[in-house]
């Protein structure tokens, strides 16, 4: 056995899109321990709730992370609506879910591009981001923003999607689906991808359950914690929703779950676009949350379950706003998955977990 050496990894590293630092304790090219460190992009956004009223804080909340912007604005708005006992129109619920699922498609396509780049699949990286660009164009046309949508408000949504735009969304998604299937077939059947991912960074069902993993990371270890199953909002109107699961718990399973979730999201959007009811898209919200009122809410973001907690104090400013993001849960699992893997596989394990440090630090 060789001598144990500590190799620093990140926060700036060619394969890491996020500022995560790992101290890798390595012995004979095997990682025996990984010590994570975050804190490079903390902005203190939760503290801002004291100086911004509950309507203004929505715009702060959606800036927690660029990729999860739609999810954070929807999650925050739902939390404040529950806090104030506001019921939003059905059409607004459908529109929120359509935008949220579109954001899941763009988030997973972004991840697929980055993962393909890490595999050495440059052309797949280009194809994945080419398809993602079409989703961003849809956001631009329907919300007025490509990344930060600013379309959700407390009490509903600011903009409607008319029939023409809805049919354009379906048309674009059909085009994406045709190309995406080819990309995914290539990725999931390629022997070089399998060589790098099958059996690497395995996290068993028991470990994933004990470490409270969330999102595609947990579902790849056969832990079903998809919050969409609760049927909040328009998710409750889906005819059949079965989360994508896998039992292997390795990097390949995580790649597979994420890849298939894109197709599932497209199906959800199509179903909701066909079912969307006519009517108002928002209600007026007046007053302030009652003193001492508190509420919690969960939302399935692209990276997993995100938990929101809010407490009112009788004024327009909230007393406390707490957000527990999916990656802050998944870091513990990532450390467990890294234990025992080869040094060369560290980037694959980290990338297949798809950490979002920007969300985690807020």
């Amino acid at each position: 056995m060789g001598k144990a050496t500590v190799i620093p990894f990140g926060p700036q590293h060619p394969v890491l899109p996020e500022p995560l630092h790992l101290d890798l304790v390595v012995q004979d090219e095997k990682v025996i321990e990984a010590i994570p460190q975050i804190g490079f992009v903390h902005r203190g956004l939760e503290k801002l709730v004291e100086t911004r009223d509950y309507n203004q804080f929505l715009y702060v909340c959606e800036r927690i992370c660029g990729i999860c912007a739609a999810g954070h604005s929807i999650g925050y708005a739902e939390t404040v609506e529950r806090l104030m006992g506001v019921e939003i129109p059905k059409r607004a619920e459908y529109l929120r879910v359509i935008w949220h699922e579109l954001s899941r498609v763009h988030s997973h396509l972004l991840w697929l591009g980055l993962a393909a780049d890490a595999f050495g699949f440059e052309s797949m990286f280009m194809h994945a981001w080419r398809l993602r660009e079409r989703v961003l164009d849809l956001f631009e046309k329907t919300t007025g923003g490509r990344v930060i949508l600013s379309v959700v408000k407390v009490g509903g949504v600011h903009r409607d999607i008319d029939a023409n735009q809805m049919s354009e969304i379906i048309h674009v998604l059909d085009g994406i689906m045709a190309d995406y299937r080819k990309i995914v077939d290539t990725l999931l059947t390629d022997y070089s991808v399998k060589n790098r991912t099958v059996g690497v960074g395995t996290l068993s069902h028991e470990e994933a359950f004990a470490l409270s993993m969330v999102g595609p990371f947990a579902r790849a270890s056969n832990v079903n914690n998809d919050v969409r199953c609760l049927g909040n909002g328009a998710y409750g109107d889906l005819s059949d929703f079965q989360p994508i699961m896998d039992a292997q718990g390795d990097c390949y399973a995580r790649v597979k779950v994420r890849c298939l979730e894109v197709l599932q999201s497209i199906e959800i959007i199509k179903e909701l676009a066909a079912k969307i009811p006519a009517g108002e898209i928002s209600v007026n919200v007046k007053g302030a949350p009652a003193e001492g009122a508190e509420v919690c809410n969960v939302l399935e973001q692209p990276r997993g379950e995100c938990y929101y907690y809010a407490r009112g104090n009788g004024t327009k400013n909230l007393e406390r706003m707490r957000i527990r993001t999916p990656t802050s849960q998944n870091i513990a699992g990532m450390v467990a998955a890294l234990k025992g893997c080869d040094l060369a596989d560290v980037n694959m394990v980290v990338l297949t977990i798809d950490p979002c440090i920007s969300c985690t630090e807020r």
Partner: protein
Amino acid sequence: MSGFKLGGMTIGSVFKKPETLLYPFEQKQAPAGLRGHVIVDLSMCVFCGICQKRCPADAIAVDKAAGTWAIDDFACVQCACCVKECPKNCLLMEPSPSAVGTSKAPRVFVVGSMR
């Protein structure tokens, strides 16, 4: 074999219309509802200051006595909150992005101007 599928797709894109534009000779048309930058018509403004109060980024400064309305483009987050809240509908969101700034000073509008 799977590599050939992607190769076929890549070769196919040689014969398709390019996904990218030949910027700056071709430019992308901004969609009608794009949130580019805020403009104000001061002939309709009553200087109530609601836009200043509602702005989450504290980017707007309204001075009723001096008859000026100023926006700091570097602080503005293009949320269009001011446009939605304006009781006189004198604020508009132009689809084009704001012009490149030559200084970090806010854009100041005085009564009788529209930019």
